[in-house]
């Protein structure tokens, strides 16, 4: 029993018919952590969340919440609350009644329920609408009430199932900050499920990248982005260039690799063994023209460019390889590189990453 672990998932497997949704998944979530399960649809992230809530049970393995085995405990006996993707606010109850529902079932006193309900609606700026029904609210308002309802009973763990996916862009950004603040203020462990890597990087203390029913990597946002452990993670989180390379030599965290662009030394993970491998280098790590200084420099030609406002994305060709690069538009127009132009590009060896093929 470990008090520092809010959640322990131990060798959990789950089949739906012949489809294996989870393949012996194990990981821990720390107390007061903002933990995100990130992955494409069908990766098993929602199944895992539903297991934490108690809506699904694993075929094999066990789940512990604060050291207590809950694998066979029904949802209403777990001190866990969920913010559903659809919000699932009860349409026949007022906002007040929605927020009070969990407290009534826990047997709180009437006066305490009133106070807590008022406090929670206040907290999400919905007090003025306490006696309205969910049908009269906008998406963002429903979202906030769903949060208030889930947080009112002071759960040990809050589960959030893609709660921002139905909101428009501006609102989503604001809600990210609000969620992050709520998590810090309440000190409750948040387990967040999303397929949106930007959301995951922005909010999380740690991220678990799931793919094909397995945990691909767990780490801080920077670790996930800068030090992906395999091709799946490098590809799913952010944009990247992949090059087929050969590892000639690998020792003490340094590898010598032969690439179509030449032979050079890069930092390597334990995964980099002699033989065929993949080199991942992110577009923003490739510098153009006057920004290319130090490290490895190459001559390239600009094949195409997409002006995005703050950035311009370039498609480059060098030594028979097509690379994507992005360049910050630090000043106006003057530093744009024309399509068809020859340009010097460069990157630091440390910003490339060798992955097992």
């Amino acid at each position: 029993m470990d008090r520092d672990k809010a959640v322990e998932v131990k060798s959990v497997s789950k089949h739906f018919g012949t489809y294996q949704a989870l393949k012996s998944v194990s990981f821990d979530i720390g107390e007061n952590e903002f933990f995100t399960m990130l992955g494409p649809s069908g990766c098993g992230k929602t199944t895992l969340l539903r297991m934490l809530a108690g809506f699904e049970s694993p075929d094999q393995g066990s789940i512990l919440l604060h050291g207590r085995e809950v694998t066979q405990i029904p949802p209403h006996k777990r001190r866990v609350n969920t913010v559903f993707q659809s919000y699932a606010l009860f349409p026949h109850m007022t906002l007040e009644q929605n927020v009070a529902y969990g407290l009534e079932n826990l047997g709180w006193e009437r006066a305490k329920i009133r106070a807590r309900t008022g406090e929670m609606l206040e907290r999400v700026h919905m007090s003025a609408m306490a006696t309205r029904k969910p049908g009269q609210l906008s998406g963002g308002q429903r979202q906030r009430v769903a949060l208030a309802r889930a947080l009112a009973p002071e759960p040990e763990i809050l589960l959030l199932d893609e709660p921002l996916s139905a909101l428009d862009l501006k609102l989503r950004q604001a809600m990210r900050d609000e969620l992050r603040n709520l998590q810090r203020d309440t000190g409750i462990t948040f387990v967040f499920v999303t397929h949106d890597q930007e959301e995951a990087l922005d909010m999380s203390d740690r991220i678990a990248v799931l793919g094909a029913g397995e945990v691909q990597q767990i780490g801080t946002p920077a670790q996930i982005y800068e030090e992906p452990v395999n091709r799946f993670v490098a590809d799913f989180v952010g944009e990247t260039n992949f090059l087929d390379v050969e590892v000639l030599d690998s020792r003490e965290g340094q590898a010598t690799i032969r690439t179509p662009l030449g032979t050079f030394g890069v930092p390597a993970t334990g995964a980099a063994q002699k033989g065929r491998a993949t080199l991942s280098i992110r577009p923003e790590k490739i510098n153009l023209g006057d920004q290319a200084a130090g490290g490895i420099t190459l001559a390239a030609r600009v094949v195409n460019q997409n002006y995005m406002g703050g950035f311009t994305h370039y498609t480059l060709e060098t030594g028979g390889v097509t690379l994507r690069a992005s360049r910050r538009n630090a000043s106006r127009q003057g530093d744009l590189v024309a399509t068809g132009a020859d340009v010097t590009i460069g990157f630091l060896p440390g910003s490339a990453r060798v992955l097992a093929s």
């Binding site: 809530a53 209403h76 559903f84 009860f90 349409p91 049908g135």
Partner: protein
């Protein structure tokens, strides 16, 4: 809707609609109008009168038949709706239900069988078992054939209701009974109400089974009306018919209002 598909612009649309409504409602209009006729002979209008209503309401046999019908219909509705609700919950919400489709078909089968077969079957069964109580026989038979009518709207409503609500309720510490009472039932109530309404009307309207099982003191309204016609029609029938139309209209309106309330978020 685009202009080219506006059905109101089709040639002859107005006339066709008029003919349709006349064909549908003319017989009913005749009954209503002649229920106010002072003359004893149907078809000869001599003046306005409420006598036939008075005579219908004073007719003790008629009132007894009405009382039997309503008693049977109320109890049969309660039984059929409860059974249908439980069946729908088990079939739609149950986990790992084997033979889900088969179960649904079995519940709905009485809709497809000729009623006369069911009526004869009930008669034979009750005499085999030795059941004597006429009212009980009627209630049992009506409960059975009303169940699929109650089941259909309840099932439809339950199927259309997202599981999220029930899961949210369980997530918020409600046990199964609390979830049913405070979330599931209120949300499917329009379906339950429609089902009960249908069951009630089907029971009130039933002739074949009721006639087959009728014995002294258990004559239902349709069976009594049929017996009146055999001994020659009287304008009293028109008055009874008009009252029944009025009752049906009230029930149908109530059902519509509840259904509309239910679809609003």
């Amino acid at each position: 809707m685009s202009r080219s598909h506006d059905v109101k612009r089709y040639p002859g649309f107005g006339w066709l609609t008029l003919v349709f409504f006349v064909w549908l409602y003319l017989p009913l209009m005749v009954v209503v109008v002649y229920s106010f006729n002072a003359n004893r002979i149907a078809g000869v209008w001599t003046g306005f009168s409420l006598d036939w209503y008075a005579s219908a309401l004073k007719n003790q046999a008629l009132m007894n038949a009405l009382k039997t019908s309503v008693t049977v219909a109320l109890i049969a509705t309660a039984v059929a709706t409860s059974v249908a609700l439980m069946a729908a919950l088990a079939i739609i919400r149950g986990k790992n239900v084997r033979f889900r489709r088969l179960s649904e078909t079995v519940v709905n089968l009485p809709l497809l069988l000729p009623e006369i077969v069911l009526a004869v079957a009930s008669l034979i069964l009750f005499s085999l078992v030795g059941l004597q109580n006429g009212l009980l026989k009627l209630i049992l038979a009506h409960s059975a054939f009303c169940t699929p009518f109650a089941f259909l709207p309840i099932r439809a409503r339950l199927q259309g209701m997202s599981l999220d609500f029930e899961e949210a309720s369980a997530d918020l510490y409600a046990g199964r009974w609390t979830t049913f009472r405070r979330v599931t039932l209120p949300l499917i109530f329009p379906g339950v109400f429609s089902g009960a309404m249908l069951a009630f009307l089907i029971s009130m309207d039933d002739f074949i089974t009721s006639n087959m099982l009728a014995s002294g003191g258990t004559t239902t309204l349709p069976v009594y009306i049929f017996s009146l016609i055999r001994s020659g029609t009287t304008p009293e029938l028109n008055a009874i018919g008009t009252l029944m139309i009025l009752a049906s209209l009230i029930l149908a309106t109530a059902a519509l209002l509840v259904a509309r309330r239910g679809t609003k978020p």
